[in-house]
């Protein structure tokens, strides 16, 4: 049971701003993902919640109690580190047992708790190995087991998957999702990988240079990015962004004319996703007419890219689509799925 409130939380080192005015309430049992490029302050935010970093300003409340002055050990949080931070001199069993031991929990219950935690992450066969004798994925699971063994109120995970290879990352991701469902504990998860954020989160917080850009469910963030930065960060491939000019509802840029848009005249950035456009057939003329820059076969589809004003614009075409680089192609954009952003601030325009 833990609801976490962050009230105007800030972290500065001299003139450098780590986190600026972070204000959020994280509901009990919520899975919250902090997402952003490296150096955006997401890990700093997590470390402030853990108590490993002092907040310069603002309050951290757990269940309504201010915890700013509490030591990490008194905050009842468990953390999984990017480097796993396993104790190299102890075997797996002792690693998992360590939190129980230092917290003075009744030794008679240790064995049962350790075995239950290790069973949850499928580590039963490795309990007597030292961390050095384990693979990356196994070490990661030891770190998870060590976090869950004492049933904390809050889980903190700092890029737990980024040291794993791609295949293992997918399976461990699924395991974490399942585990969090089973344990039903408030979880804060830091990552720079937007796919992890989309798949795991109840809510996603996107940060850039210490400032929160948008908070919302994965669907919200995907469908209605609050600004051009969020749009360019979420999705694979990221949203296409074209800088141009709008006049009487008609957007124009190099090789591009999109009509039927509802926005005041002036410079804007037009955004649309690769799946919200298609390659026209039978020589029909679409909104974009340009030579193909590159073609990528993805198996289930073909990604066709053109360059508009230095920006790469990708469109998903049928998997049978074949053409050559530099061939002229015409692309049709579904105007109802277009997003418009302010050319200067990047903020979303309209509704």
């Amino acid at each position: 049971m833990a609801e976490i409130q962050l009230r105007n939380l800030s972290k500065r080192w001299g003139a450098f701003v780590g986190v600026e005015n972070f204000d959020l309430t994280i509901a009990d049992k919520e899975f919250l993902v902090l997402l952003g490029p490296s150096g955006c302050g997401k890990t700093t935010t997590m470390r402030m919640i853990a108590g490993l970093e002092d907040a310069t300003e603002g309050d951290i409340l757990v269940d309504g109690n201010r915890v700013n002055e509490l030591e990490p050990k008194d905050r009842d949080v468990a953390m999984v580190f990017q480097s796993y931070a396993l104790y190299p001199n102890m075997n797996v069993y002792e690693n998992i047992r360590f939190p129980l031991k230092v917290r003075g929990i009744d030794p008679a219950t240790h064995d049962e708790k350790v075995r239950r935690a290790s069973a949850m992450v499928e580590l039963d066969d490795f309990l007597h190995r030292k961390p050095a004798e384990l693979s990356g994925g196994q070490r990661q699971r030891v770190a998870l087991a060590r976090a869950i063994v004492r049933e904390p109120n809050v889980f903190l995970m700092d890029e737990p998957l980024s040291n794993l290879d791609a295949k293992l990352r997918v399976s461990t991701r699924a395991q974490i999702k399942n585990l969090s469902h089973e344990l039903a504990v408030t979880t804060i998860y830091v990552t720079h990988d937007q796919i992890e954020a989309m798949t795991l989160a109840d809510r996603v917080v996107i940060m850039k240079q210490g400032v929160v850009q948008q908070v919302g469910t994965p669907v919200d963030i995907y469908d209605k990015p609050a600004n051009a930065f969020v749009a360019s960060f979420i999705g694979s491939p990221a949203m296409n962004l074209i800088d141009g000019e709008i006049k009487d509802g008609v957007f124009t840029a190099q090789n591009t004319t999109v009509s039927g848009l509802n926005a005041p005249d002036g410079p804007v950035t037009l955004g649309f996703r690769a799946e919200d456009a298609n390659v026209t057939e039978n020589g029909q003329s679409g909104e974009i007419n340009a030579p193909i820059y590159t073609l990528e076969l993805l198996g289930d589809s073909t990604m066709v890219s053109v360059r508009i004003g230095g920006q790469l614009v990708s469109v998903k075409a049928d998997k049978t689509f074949r053409s050559e680089i530099d061939d002229k192609v015409s692309l049709h954009i579904h105007t109802e799925h277009c997003h418009l952003f302010d050319a200067k601030t990047g903020a979303r325009l309209g509704e």
């Binding site: 990490p72 050990k73 949080v77 104790y87 230092v102």
Partner: protein, 293 residues
């Protein structure tokens, strides 16, 4: 088996083997010569007539009826009570190592985890003190020690040796601690340790090789110290090395130089045993900083 391409040419192999052999003899000869000579009388070991007497022991044969004698050892250990000096060295070494390591691990850990700029200057200051010859410090200490009436006793020497040794232990342990990721401390803290528990239960077990290596170097410094012991200890409280020097200093009687030789051999043997016993830790500790573990 090494492949043909990797094998060295025969001439090079012979040359390198010869060089190693030469170097070995060069390094081991003085000690072997001293050990052999310590069982002779002075007129053999320092023979002016014929240097081969030192090997054959002609005079020793004439005096004691055998080409080996233990009179040097008996004189040093029993007559001159060299065991007292051994005991003093033992006390000095024990306390120097214990105090140096206690301050060094705590200080080195604090410096390695500190985020302030002054830690750099602290370490540089320590390095400057380390670079100074110990004798410069001792000269300055002499007068106050006389005035406070603490000259000539072991605790004074221990404190001075710790002071001289501390910059080195601090540097060495600092770099060992730097190699331990701070996530390990943080993980321990989140798991329920306070700062000191994290240090004792998580960091120190990982640090053992570094602590042993540093402790060994502190031990050797205290064991081999001459300048401090010779200046600061009264005759009755001498440690081994100043005592050996004192044996050499009085050449009026025949036995004394041989006492010194016997004492030198006695003082060296424990070092051999120690280094052989700890050789794995020493090598591991020395290279721990170079290669990421």
């Amino acid at each position: 088996m090494a492949s043909r391409a990797q094998r060295m040419p025969k001439s090079l192999r012979i040359a390198s083997s010869l060089f190693v052999l030469f170097w070995f003899i060069l390094a081991a000869f003085p000690f072997a010569w001293t050990v052999w000579g310590s069982f002779k009388v002075e007129l053999d070991f320092f023979s002016i007539a014929d240097w081969t007497n030192a090997i054959t022991g002609e005079r020793t044969q004439a005096v004691y009826g055998s080409s080996f004698t233990d009179t040097g050892y008996a004189g040093a250990w029993i007559q001159e009570e060299f065991w007292r000096n051994v005991l003093n060295t033992g006390i000095v070494c024990f306390f120097v190592v214990t105090i140096s390591l206690t301050i060094g691990t705590l200080g080195g850990y604090a410096l390695s985890r500190s985020t302030y700029n002054y830690t750099f200057w602290l370490l540089i200051t320590a390095l400057i003190f380390r670079a100074m010859p110990p004798i410069t410090l001792v000269a300055g200490y002499l007068l106050p020690f006389f005035e406070w009436n603490v000259w000539g006793i072991l605790p004074t020497t221990i404190i001075v040796l710790v002071a001289i040794n501390q910059p080195f232990t601090l540097w060495m342990l600092h770099s060992f601690f730097k190699n331990i990721p701070s996530e390990l401390d943080e993980s321990a803290k989140v798991d329920g340790c306070n700062q000191f528990q994290a240090f004792r239960r998580v960091i120190i077990p990982v640090m053992w090789p570094g602590v042993i290596t540093t402790g060994l170097f502190s031990f050797l410094l205290a064991y081999n110290d001459f300048a401090v012991g010779a200046m600061l200890l009264s005759e009755s409280n001498r440690t081994m090395v100043p005592a050996i020097a004192a044996f050499l200093g009085t050449t009026q009687t025949e036995g004394n130089v041989m006492f010194a030789v016997a004492a030198v051999v006695s003082a060296t043997v424990p070092l051999f045993i120690l280094v052989m016993f700890f050789q794995r830790q020493i090598v591991g500790g020395l290279t721990a900083g170079a290669v990421k573990g």
